[in-house]
């Protein structure tokens, strides 16, 4: 095999085959998925008047997703729940059901992730953690999760001198916390931090899809 065109044909076909098989065919299969209601009527159509899922991330949460991307959260946190019986995603309460292809169709950038140095975040908004907790955790993970190796994102927060009324947005440190501000100062989230927390709270897998029902 010394012939360039022949060699080239083989080289071309080898990759063309996987490109067609993996990329184009999954594009055909997944690219045609649409939003749907939680269950379908007997003809397999959406039920009129019900909300279509998955919802689209919008507003502040959408800006928060950009912060999530810029901070590289994906390198330690996944956004995918594996099926019950494959890993312990379900038992760890990372989601009430497995995530499926349709869950991601409204996302401009899909952040599945491949590394879990920390918990999965597909359903973090559905867990009993409020915005105050998230702010403290982002400001310094040691406050809420002693021993975590998550980096602190204190640079997303500002320290102000309290003038007059304290800000309602100020971080609510536990009493005598070694990470709290000095007397007379308060720590408030920047817009980026607000957006990021809004995004995290918006991550919920609390709806069913025809192909993936939440089973209680």
């Amino acid at each position: 095999m010394k012939n360039l065109p022949l060699l080239f044909c083989g080289i071309f076909f080898a990759l063309a085959f996987s490109f067609t098989g993996l990329i184009l065919s999954s594009n055909i299969q997944i690219g045609s998925l649409n939003q749907t209601t939680q269950s379908l009527d007997e003809n397999g159509n959406n039920i009129a008047g019900e909300t279509l899922y998955p919802l689209k991330t919008a507003g502040l949460a959408k800006q928060g997703k950009q912060v999530y991307i810029e901070m590289g959260c994906i390198y330690c946190h996944t956004q995918q729940v594996r099926r019950q019986g494959f890993g312990a995603d379900y038992e760890r309460n990372w989601g009430p059901r497995q995530s499926v292809a349709r869950d991601y169709i409204m996302q401009d950038r899909v952040l599945l992730g491949t590394m879990r140095r920390g918990p999965d975040l597909m359903h973090v908004g559905g867990r009993p953690l409020n915005a105050d907790w998230h702010h403290l955790h982002l400001y310094n993970p040691q406050i809420t999760s002693k021993g975590s190796n998550m980096p602190p994102f204190a640079f997303l927060y500002e320290t102000h001198k309290i003038e007059g009324e304290p800000s309602p947005d100020a971080l609510k440190f536990p009493p005598n916390s070694e990470y709290g501000p000095e007397e007379g100062y308060e720590i408030v989230p920047t817009r980026d931090a607000e957006a990021l927390v809004e995004y995290l709270l918006s991550l919920k897998l609390d709806y069913s899809l025809p192909e993936a029902q939440i089973v209680e």
Partner: protein
Amino acid sequence: MDTAPQSNSQIANPYSSKDAAVRAELSEIDASIRSSALFFTVSAIFWLLAGTVFALITAYKAHEPAFMADGAWSTFGRMRSAHLNAMALGWGNNIIFAIGLWIMARLCRAPIRHGGMLTIAGIFWNVGLTIGIGGIIAGDITSVEWLEIPHYATPLLAISYALIGVWGIVAFKFRKGEHVYVSQWYILAALFWFPWLYVIAQVMIIWFPARGVVQSVTNWWFAHNVLGLWLTPMALATAYYLIPKVLGRPIYSYYLSVLGFWALAIFYNWAGVHHLIGGPIPVWLISAGIVASVMMVIPVIVVGLNHHMSVVGLHKEVWRSPTLRFTVFGAISYTLVSLIGSSMAVRSVNEITHFTDFTVGHAHHGVYAFFSMIMFGGVYYMMPRLLKREWPSATLIKLHFWGSAVGISVMLFALHVTGWIQGLEMNNPDISMLEVVQNSMPWLKARTVSGVLLSFAHVAFAVNFFWMLFAAGAVRAKQGPTLLDSSSKEGAA
């Protein structure tokens, strides 16, 4: 002996000719690519050092999260991505452009035409990469694995790559003589595959995002193929050239090498989907990925056997050659890393290793212990022939070898063990996530130590390299066109 130069194309077998002009051909080829190969090697070494610094910061932050945590620019995700891109596209691609094209030119027996264009394309490549990695650190990171470089830098990278790739293919087109060697296949194929992968991934993920998880499929088709269809063929091409060349003995079986090539070409590019096992994509896609990953055992065994049989009986010679010490280390790692990789694609194993440091260890096994070690070997072989000088210090070469070999072994051991433990613990819901993290700490610290060893190795390499490049007065020029006149053979013991 007729000294009149004659057209090379008239000679049936130029490499056995007694004609002095033909004999000097190799030197002429080396000269035609010298400036661009030097440029690429120097760039590669700078990126290697930069990537090492990013790596150390990342490794240290993994167990000391408060370290360098005052600014967004140095947060874990950005440092990690800067490391990956500096190593893959900075060190990896530059060294491929240097060694891959040099081997291509030598095997094509024709000088590279207009080598200056290669250097210009190389400058653009490195400028694009600097902008890209600067962009990552500044916060324009895309958070798409292996494609973190922001959109404003990628067109420059694509264009400069295209020029370089075309030069390689043109060199093949204008080759002299009938014969083609297996290394040329690998290089030719990789030069063609890489831009295809890169452009498709850019278009379908960044420019015109495909719907939902099609992006993820494309992402891992690309990212795994950067290893499989770019770094791997280039390293194998180098190994296929260096092992028989240094030992002076043809490869054990040429048939096997051909079989290995086509098996790799057919199976490897389907394998990437195994990064999404258990993920939200159609099951048949994942099954295809698993089957292909397991089928990779064929080319791996074939290549491993071929390399092993080529070396058998000459182990002393391997040890006495700096080039082969590195190259054979890399070739052995190829067999190991690929077999581990194939088994990681099996669902029951993947259930444990997926989402853990096992994968991180595996990636370093492939890119460092296999690819980089072979490329180090390539540099040790190429430089004396380009510069017609000896390496100034044998001690530094040994330091480099032992630092790299011990460093990477420690790292692989630590990451594979901790990854496996993490996986088992994560699959046990009674163990909290915080405990899983805590239990990995000692191993992550061991990883940092291994990083320090690797850094020493890289500094030794860089010092030796620049010492040789600038000669520093102490290094005498070698006689003859290359090192290899029998009269100038020395230092075998």
